[in-house]
């Protein structure tokens, strides 16, 4: 029994070592991307958000930090779009580049597809978190500079949800990358989904008055609303009449609902992607 436990323990360490080697190497390979995308995220932020307040006279700041943050990363704002596109760029070639460039022949079958898939995913996601953290830090610093008051703690919640949302997007991109032929085709598909696809899906349940909890563009709204300290008491929908019909427009999901659906999406897309990757021959 004790021997079995020791063997199990040794096996876990052995596997973790391999995964950590994959993560380290992947980060080593992507270090240029980290630098370029961090510079891109910061410079886009400075040019689009900060510079107008500094350079254009009579441009007034939003009344509070909440509005400032919202404006900074309001849905489909340029900054937000850039961050999502960075996500797509980082993950679009995560699996299929191993096939198109035939680099997979260096590592298979020295290491299992499971370890490669999740090792690479974790490494790239860490890179993404790094880039997003830099962006949020810059945003917080400018907020402090402009308002001269402590940074609101709700920004951390918003950041956490944004990371979870990015995890879903990364999972979808990885899923596409596991069976599509080239990184370019993945990039085009995921950009199409970000720009048009998610909104189209959103239209269907809205017309029925049901909460579109499965829609990513709807789930995304919570990243903004959670910035408000009174988030839990905010109305989640508004009702209005169109003729004699009472209609409901949903504003944002509940925290529990968003966490559950976002986590579920991440797991499903990652696992399906892995199954497809496992079946793919070199």
């Amino acid at each position: 029994m004790r021997k079995n436990n020791r063997n199990m323990h040794a096996k876990i360490i052995y596997n973790l070592r391999k995964i950590s080697a994959i993560i380290k190497f992947e980060i080593h390979l992507q270090k240029k991307k980290i630098i370029y995308f961090s510079i891109l995220a910061i410079s886009m932020y400075v040019v689009i958000v900060v510079m107008p307040y500094v350079l254009i006279p009579n441009t007034s700041l939003p009344p509070t930090q909440y509005e400032f943050y919202q404006l900074n990363r309001g849905y489909m704002s340029y900054i937000y779009l850039v961050l999502l596109l960075i996500n797509s760029f980082v993950f679009s070639g995560i699996i299929n580049s191993e096939y198109t460039q035939k680099t997979a022949l260096n590592i298979f079958p020295l290491v299992s597809k499971f370890k490669i898939y999740f090792g690479k995913f974790i490494a790239n996601f860490l890179i993404l978190i790094g880039i997003y953290t830099i962006h949020y830090l810059v945003m917080a610093l400018f907020s402090y500079y402009f308002y001269g008051e402590p940074i609101f703690y709700t920004l951390i919640f918003s950041f956490g949800l944004f990371i979870l949302y990015s995890l879903v997007l990364a999972s979808i991109t990885t899923f596409l990358s596991s069976f599509m032929a080239s990184p370019i085709s993945v990039l085009i598909t995921i950009m199409g989904l970000i720009l048009i696809g998610f909104d189209l899906i959103n239209l269907i349940p809205t017309s029925l008055g049901l909460e579109p909890i499965y829609s990513l563009s709807y789930l995304d709204n919570i990243i903004n609303y959670i910035l408000y300290p009174n988030f839990s008491s905010l109305p989640r929908y508004i009702e209005y009449y169109e003729g004699s019909d009472l209609l409901r427009r949903w504003l944002f999901p509940s925290l529990g609902g968003a966490l559950f659906v976002l986590s579920l999406y991440s797991i499903i897309f990652l696992l399906v992607g892995f199954i497809l990757f496992k079946r793919r021959d070199l």
Partner: protein
């Protein structure tokens, strides 16, 4: 250390089909520890497919590939094997990540759980051995084809595997590097490692392989030692160089006499370009070439008859087997039999 003559790889009735196309049909062969086996066949014969199946890069449509584990038992590699012996691979034309040889080799060593304290010295040893030490920290994308090939080979052997699987490792190498690689393969064979190597370079195969597996159009044509196959396909020849000049008019007379005296020892088959007569005269080198069954007994009998009964006609200066050309003949003859 593995026990000598233990089967470490067994390919059993392997088929591979891509929709309607059959890439491999009922392939069977095995490799013993410490053996170098050459995989021969024309382009598209199925060599890389076999190596990919052995390397678990693709699965067979049916059949099994068994590899020995560290406890000495054969395990089906496609049935969740555990604790298999270490294997190293060079499949296809190597392509690498955008990094340098040092980082790549260190990464592969980590993935294979190679002893951490030996990793650096092993990397340096290989880089020096294959003249890439000065390129240790240079980007691989700047390397020539031959340098990449050498690096691909190093990736395959960095962790000192017990079974090395190499797909045309000598492609793009200069003669010096080819000799280096050949010597290195012999060296690791002497350490008890087994190697399966596919190549078009018959001389290289002849030099280093104990056995060959010949396939064509997905079918196994032969699997044996080169000597045995040469005997089986009647391509064993012996060259007898003559020091005294022979008049052209006398050649046919001597030939008739030779055929008469050696008729029980010489193998005559159908006369065509690929399979010429049992006795031939090569006027350029002033030598006679005899096709025989390859046994030592027949060989000494031929030499005895030449020395005793033809001493007045022929002054034999040397008597030897034309190694390289025989493998070429064997190769073409075996292929032609399957067409």
């Amino acid at each position: 250390m593995l026990i000598i003559s233990e089967t470490i790889l067994k390919v059993e009735n392997v088929d591979k089909k891509y929709k309607k196309f059959s890439a491999l049909n009922q392939i069977n062969f095995c490799i013993q520890s410490g053996e170098i086996v050459g995989l021969l066949g024309p382009n598209g014969a199925g060599k890389t497919t076999i190596l990919k199946i052995i390397s678990q890069l693709t699965k067979p449509s049916s059949g099994k590939v068994l590899i020995i584990d560290k406890n000495g038992e054969l395990q089906d590699i496609n049935n969740s094997p555990k604790n298999l012996i270490e294997r190293g691979f060079l499949i296809d034309i190597p392509q690498f990540y955008d990094t340098n040889p040092y980082s790549l080799l260190k990464y592969i060593a980590r993935l294979t759980n190679y002893r951490k304290q030996n990793t650096i010295s092993r990397i340096n040893f290989l880089l020096k051995k294959f003249d890439l030490y000065d390129w240790k920290y240079k980007k691989i994308k700047t390397f020539s084809k031959g340098m990449k090939q050498k690096l691909g080979f190093m990736v395959g052997i960095i962790h000192e595997p017990d079974l090395v699987i190499l797909d045309e490792p000598q492609t793009g190498l200069d003669p010096e590097s080819r000799i280096l690689m050949r010597d290195f393969l012999k060296q690791i064979q002497s350490e008890g490692k087994s190697i399966i190597i596919s190549s078009h370079m018959l001389n290289e195969i002849r030099e280093i392989c104990d056995k060959i597996v010949l396939i064509n159009k997905g079918n196994l044509i032969g699997f044996d030692t080169i000597d045995n196959l040469e005997r089986e396909f009647f391509v064993k020849e012996i060259i007898c160089e003559i020091s005294n000049p022979i008049q052209l008019n006398d050649v046919s007379i001597i030939m008739n006499k030779l055929e008469q005296e050696l008729k029980t020892l010489i193998i005559n088959t159908e006369d065509d370009d690929k399979n010429p007569k049992g006795i031939r005269y090569d006027s350029t080198h002033n030598s006679f070439i005899f096709r025989y069954d390859g046994s030592m007994d027949s060989r000494s009998k031929i030499l005895n008859i030449l020395s005793n009964k033809f001493s007045s006609d022929l002054a034999v200066s040397s008597f030897y087997e034309p190694k390289d050309s025989q493998l070429e003949k064997l190769y073409t003859q075996m292929l032609s039999k399957t067409k």
